[in-house]
Structures are given as C-alpha cells and as structure tokens.
C-alpha cells in the first residue's frame, strides 16, 4: 500500500490522461498501461481511472479522428489498447462487498461503439453489482432473450449513433410489452442521451446518466 504522501490524488487525473494519450499516440501501449497500473498501486480508484482518465482520453481520440488529425486505424488501436488496460485493472473492480443485484448491458442493433458500456459494466462491478456485458451490435430481440434468462434488476442500453434512438424505443416497447411487471428498470446511455437527456423518457426508459457514476447512482436509487 502506498504511503500517505505517495497516494494518488484525483487532481492528478488530468495530467495522467494527457500522459496516457500521448503514449498511446506514440504506440507505446505497454508504457501507457504501466502509468495506469502505477496510479492504481498508489490508490487511484477504478472510478478515478475510468471517468477522469480513460473516458477523457477516448473523447479526445474521437475528436482527433473527427478533425482528421489521426487515422481511423489509430483510433481503433487506442480503443483496443484501452480495452486491454481495462482488462488489466479489472480485478480492482471486484473488491467491494456484493450487493446481490444484477445488471445486463448491451449496445443495440448496429451499434459498434462498446467501450463506454464496457466501462459502465466495470463501474457497476466495482460497486458490488454482477454484470452481464453483451458487447456490441446486439439485436433488440436478443435483449428480450437475455433479460428473460438472466432476470436482472437493471438493463442498460447503449447507443452512440442517433439511428439507435428509435431502435432503443422499439426495444424498450418490446420488453415492456412482453415482460410486463417482470421488466427490469431500464437506463439508456450514450451520446444522443448526453446531448438530450429528455430523449430517455421519449424512448420509454426509466432514466439516463451523463456518466457512469451518475448511472450507477441512479440505478441504485431505482432498484432500492
């Protein structure tokens, strides 16, 4: 355990994010991972790393692609390398006492952007939930199948592209029609809902969060 003076302070996160991004842009994946591991060893929480380091890095990576500063291959490299980073630090997510609650999460329809939902699932795990992460491009009907099999307390639907918003509405309508009172609470998330939180109600969800911490807090409230 780090001595008090060596402990990671959340205010260091911004600098760590910049360092991590620079290393990734230099294709120094292993050095980037080591920076994160050092921060964890010094007491950084999973939430600190995910919300204050990795999430800002991924937003900036997307922006760099958008302004044509990096090729899509570089964005894919950073995404894949960040998933590797997350896998390495995931054991730190499992330290809390389990709540007995379960969350199922998936990216709907043709949605390939799964990193945000992956982070969300890990954050739920770090708060003691069990999670069932379905990953990318999950058909709406498959959400029904999995929810019927897994009986979660909560379903999280992730959408990055706007075309996923009507799909989310259709899937939620299907779930509520088929499951009735057995339908779990449903949160939606992703860029369309960060931009316009009111869309969550419009698609029939129980809520949305602008980031993982907010989503976990809302989920805890909804399922208490």
């Amino acid at each position: 355990m780090a001595a008090p003076t060596d402990r990671f302070h959340p205010c260091e996160a911004e600098k760590l994010a910049g360092t991590y991004l620079e290393l990734m842009l230099q294709a120094r994946r292993n050095d980037a991972l080591r920076c994160i591991q050092k921060a964890i060893a010094r007491g950084a929480s999973l939430s600190d790393i995910y919300l204050k380091v990795l999430q800002p890095v991924m937003y900036e990576t997307g922006r760099l692609w958008q302004i044509n500063a990096i090729d899509i291959a570089v964005e894919h490299y950073i995404t894949a390398a960040t998933q590797l980073t997350m896998a390495h630090i995931f054991p730190h997510a499992l330290s809390k006492k389990r709540t007995g609650k379960k969350m199922v999460g998936g990216c709907l329809g043709s949605e390939l952007h799964q990193l945000g939902l992956h982070m969300l699932c890990d954050l739920f795990e770090s708060e003691g939930w069990d999670t069932y992460f379905m990953g990318a491009a999950t058909p709406g009907k498959s959400f029904l199948t999995v929810v019927s099999d897994q009986h979660p307390d909560l379903l999280c639907i992730s959408v990055t592209m706007q075309r996923g918003v009507p799909e989310a509405r259709e899937t939620i309508e299907l779930l509520r029609a088929k499951l009735g009172a057995d339908c779990p609470k449903i949160l939606v998330g992703g860029l369309p809902f960060i931009l316009s939180p009111g869309l969550a109600a419009a698609v029939g969800a129980d809520g949305t969060g602008t980031d993982g911490a907010q989503a976990v807090a809302l989920a805890t409230q909804l399922t208490s």
């Binding site: 922006r63 302004i67 706007q162 316009s196 869309l199």
Partner: protein
C-alpha cells in the same frame, strides 16, 4: 447567427410525421445513389469535395438520408443542429468545401421530392427548407465553433503528427 439561435430556430420547426420514417429508411439507399449520381454530373465536383473524396461523398449521402429517416422517427432539434455542425466539421477537415454543402443540400431536397409522393415529401420539406436556408450560417459557425460531441473532450490536444 450563433449556434443558440440555430437551436431555437430548429425547435420551432413543425414536428415531422414519424409514420414516414420506415418509408424513408426503405428508400434511403436508392435516394443516396440518386443524389450521388446528380452530384457526379457536376463538372466542378472535385473543386467542391477535394481530390480523392468521391467515396467519402457517397458515404455522406447514405448517412444523410439514413439520418433524415431517424430524425423523422424521433425529432430532436439539438441532435439536428449538432449533427449538421459535426458533419460539416468532419467532412471539411477532409477537404470538402462550403460549396459542396451549398450544392448538395438543394440536390438532396430535389432527390427526396422525386422519390416521394407529394404528400409524403410535404411532411419532411420543412426540414430541408430550414437546412437550405441556414447552411450559410452552419458554414460560418463550423469555422469557429465545435459541435457538442467535440466539446466533450476535456483534453483538447493540439493536432497530432502534423496531419492537415
């Protein structure tokens, strides 16, 4: 015109008819192809889109009609404005010019008019009329204002590696 004024203006548009969404989705590939053919007939095309960008242009046309069908299904003025702004900034960073948007949007409107029944087109025409009348504002704003999606980045690094 500032982005906030565009947002306010977009919020005043009549709600499109969601019942049209499926039809638009079905026809989006055909309409995209038709739009691409129209644009390819222009002798000044390369001036408008920059060299080597015909594939990217075709992709934009597909994305355009797919987006319109999504927008009609569940109209969100914030999404409308931010998506147009994001698209301009993305494509213009790859060599597309303002002239492309001034040419493309009226052609997209004409394409929609040709491929839809009169009453179907009339239910989405306010979107196109608004877009065409405000594209100059979008071009101006895109030069200095990031879209919402870009503003999510708190790192805002300088461009990497000297890319254009």
């Amino acid at each position: 015109m500032m982005k906030t004024m565009l947002l306010e203006s977009a919020a005043q548009l009549p709600l499109p008819d969601p019942a049209l969404s499926s039809l638009l989705a079905q026809k989006s590939a055909v309409m995209a192809e038709a739009l691409t053919r129209r644009m390819e007939m222009r002798p000044d095309l390369e001036t408008l889109i920059g060299p080597g960008n015909r594939g990217l242009m075709a992709t934009n046309h597909i994305n355009h009609f797919e987006y319109i069908s999504t927008l009609v299904s569940l109209y969100d003025p914030a999404s409308f404005v931010e998506t147009v702004l994001w698209a301009l900034r993305t494509y213009m960073s790859r060599g597309f010019t303002a002239g492309y948007w001034h040419a493309m949007l009226p052609e997209a409107q004409n394409t929609a008019k040709e491929h839809l029944q009169q009453d179907e087109y009339s239910r989405i025409s306010p979107l196109y009329t608004w877009l065409c009348s405000h594209i100059a504002d979008f071009v101006v704003i895109s030069g200095s204002t990031a879209s919402f999606y870009e503003s999510l980045s708190s790192i805002q690094r300088e461009k990497h590696g000297g890319a254009n």
